[in-house]
Symmetry: none
Subunit: 204 residues, 4 copies
C-alpha cells in the first residue's frame, strides 16, 4: 500500500502517461485525441491508462494539475517591500509570459479551450490558480495605487486588466500573431513601461 518504491513506480507511470497525453493533446486537441492515441504515444496498452486514470477527462485534469503546480511553484514572489515598483511589475509580468512560452503554449491552448466549456475545470482554475495569484499581488498593487491617488475599486479592476492582458496576449500568440511571435521577449519591458505610464510621455 504505502510501499515507497511502489508509489514511485506508480507516480512515474502516471507522469509517463501525462507526458504522452500532453503531447498528443497539444497536437490534436482534447476531443480529437483518442485514448488509443495517448496509449500509443506512451508505448503502452489502452487499458493500462485506466489503471492510473479514471477517465479521459481525468487525463486533462492531471495535466491541469501539473500546470498549476508548475505555475504556482515558480510564482513565489520575492518580498515586494524590497523591490521598487518597476522591478516588481516587471517580475509580475515576466514569469507568466516566459513560462507559457517556454514549454507549454500548445498545451495551455488545449486546457484553456476546455476550460471555456468545462465547468469543473473552470472552477479549479478560478479557485486554484486565478484567486491565489490575484491574492498574492493585489495587496501590493492596491498599496501602490493608493499612493498614486487611485481608488480601490479602480485599482482592483486594473489588476484584472493587467492579468487579462497577459492572458489575452498569450491567446493572441497562440492564434499566430506574427508580431508577437517575433517580439515576445520584448513584452516584459514594453508592458512594464506601459503599465506605469500609459501612453503618456515618460520622461518629461
Amino acid at each position: 500500500m504505502t510501499d515507497p518504491i511502489q508509489e514511485q513506480l506508480i507516480a512515474a507511470r502516471k507522469q509517463q502517461i501525462l507526458d504522452a497525453a500532453a503531447v498528443v493533446f497539444a497536437d490534436k486537441g482534447f476531443h480529437s485525441t483518442t485514448i488509443r492515441d495517448v496509449a500509443k504515444r506512451a508505448g503502452i496498452a489502452d487499458g493500462t491508462i485506466y489503471n492510473y486514470f479514471d477517465s479521459k477527462p481525468a487525463l486533462l485534469m492531471g495535466i491541469f494539475e501539473r500546470m498549476r503546480a508548475s505555475i504556482l511553484q515558480d510564482a513565489v514572489l520575492p518580498d515586494p517591500a524590497s523591490l521598487d515598483v518597476p522591478t516588481f511589475v516587471r517580475m509580475f509580468l515576466y514569469h507568466p509570459l516566459m513560462a507559457l512560452k517556454q514549454d507549454n503554449f500548445g498545451l495551455f491552448r488545449i486546457v484553456l479551450s476546455e476550460m471555456l466549456v468545462n465547468d469543473d475545470l473552470r472552477q479549479r482554475y478560478q479557485s486554484q490558480v486565478l484567486q491565489p495569484m490575484l491574492a498574492g499581488v493585489e495587496p501590493y498593487f492596491l498599496d501602490y495605487a493608493a499612493q498614486q491617488g487611485i481608488g480601490e475599486l479602480e485599482a482592483r479592476l486594473i489588476v484584472r486588466a493587467i492579468a487579462g492582458m497577459i492572458l489575452g496576449l498569450t491567446l493572441e500568440y497562440t492564434l499566430h500573431d506574427d508580431l508577437l511571435t517575433d517580439h515576445w521577449e520584448h513584452l516584459p519591458d514594453v508592458l512594464t513601461t506601459f503599465i506605469l505610464h500609459g501612453l503618456t510621455p515618460r520622461t518629461a
Copy 2:
C-alpha cells in the same frame, strides 16, 4: 437559380438554423451538442440542416461569420482625426466590451474555445477579424505614440496588449470573476484612464 425570392428563402432558412445552433451551442458547447439538438431547436428535421450547411463544423463557421459581420459592422469608427485621444480610446474600448456582454458572451466562449483548437477557424479570425481591426486603429495609435516619443515597435506591441486586454477581460468574465461581473460597465472609463496614464498620477 438566382431567383431572388428563392435566395431570400434560403437565407432565411440559414438564419433560422444558425439561430438555433447559436442557442444550443451557447448552452451545451459545440462538442456536446448534436445535430439533432440543433434541428429540434430549429423545429426542422435533421436532414434539412444538410441542405443548407455542409457539416456540423460548417454551422460553427456560419456562426463565426455572423459574429464577424456584427463586430465589424458596428466597428465603423468615426473619423479619428475629429476626435481627441481620450474619446478615441474610450470608443475603441467601449464597443467590444459592451457588444460581448450584451448578447453573445456565451456564444463567444464557444467560438473561442473552438478557435483555440481549430486551425481553419483560427485563420479566419486572424485574417478577417483581428487584422482588419488592428489595421483600423493601428495608424491612429502609431501616430499618437510617435508624438509621445514612443517607438513604432513598442507602439504596435502596445496595441496588441490593449487588444489582448479586452480579450483577456472577456475571458475572465466568462470564467466567472465576480468583480468583473459586478463592475463591467465601469471598465471603459477605468481602462481609458489607465491606458493613457498607467499607474502614474493623472493630474499632476
Copy 3:
C-alpha cells in the same frame, strides 16, 4: 407524431427487432449475445436498434412485455361458477403448461435466468404476472378449500405450491428431463387428479 401509418411501421420494426432478439437470446443467452448478434439476425445495422430501444436490457424488457401480454391475454378464465372443480383445475393447469411449451420455452429460460438476478425484471414479474394470476384464481380455490374444511392460510400456501409446481416442472423441462420431454402432454390430467386427491386412492 401520431400518424397511424408511421406508428404501425415503428411497431413493426420493434417487433422485427424483438423477434431477432428472442431468437438469439434463446440460443446463446442474454449475456453472451451482443447487440451486433441481434442486429445481424434482424438484418439491420447495429445503430438502428437504438432508434427503437434504449439499451440492451430494454430489449429483454420488451421480450418480457410480449410474454406477459401473451400469457395474460389467453388467461381469461371462463366463469368459474359454471365449472365443476376438476374442469377448473385442469384449465388452470393446461394453459401455462401448453403455452410455455409451444413457442417460448427457450426464451422463458432466458427471461427467468435474468429475473433471478435483475431486480427490475423480478419486480415486474411479481407485480404484472404473478400477482394478477394469483388474484384471478385464489378466490375460487379458497372457496373450494373452505368447503373441504381447509383453512385459509393453508389453502393460500397450496395455491402457491401449485403455481410453483407449474414453474418448477417447466424448469425441469428446460433442464432436459427426458421423462417430462416425452410425456408433457399428460401432465394436465395427471396433475389434476393429483391435486384433487393426492396420492390417496381416488375411487374408494
Copy 4:
C-alpha cells in the same frame, strides 16, 4: 506433489476463494462480479485465483460442487422401510426446503440463473443432483403408488411434480413472495397433507 500437507493447504486456499466467491456472487450475481471483487473479498491478489481455478466459470463450478456435496450428504435417507408414508414424505420435503432457506438462498439463485443458460452446469445438475435424488426416492414412491392403484408413468410424473413444487416454491421465495417469506416453516406440514390427500377432505 502428493505431499499431504501441501494438499491440505491447497484445499484450504480453494475453500477460502470459494467462500469469497460465494459471498460476492450471491450479492451481485455472477456476471456483475469481477475476479477482482472475489480476490478483494478473499484478501488475496487477482492472479492467485488462477493458481487454483482455471477461469471465472470454474469458480461457479466449484461453488456448484460444494452445494451438490452438501445437498447429497444430508440427503442420506433413513431406511424408508422403517417409516410410515407421511413421515417419509415430510422428510423428503423438509430437508431441501429448510436447507435452501438456511444459508444459501441467494447463492442458489445465482447458480440456478446460470444453470438455465450454461449447458455444462445444467448437465452436471441433471446427472449429479437431480438423477441421484430421484433415483433415491422414486422406488419408494412407485411402490406406494402401486399400492394405491396409481400407474407407474403417472407416479413418476408425480415425483417430478413434487420435486418441481419444491424448486418452484423456492423460486417464488427468491422472487419475494411475502406469504412464503412469512410462512415458510409451515410448508413441510401443509405440503405433506396436500401431497397425500390433495384438496379432498382428509379425515372423513
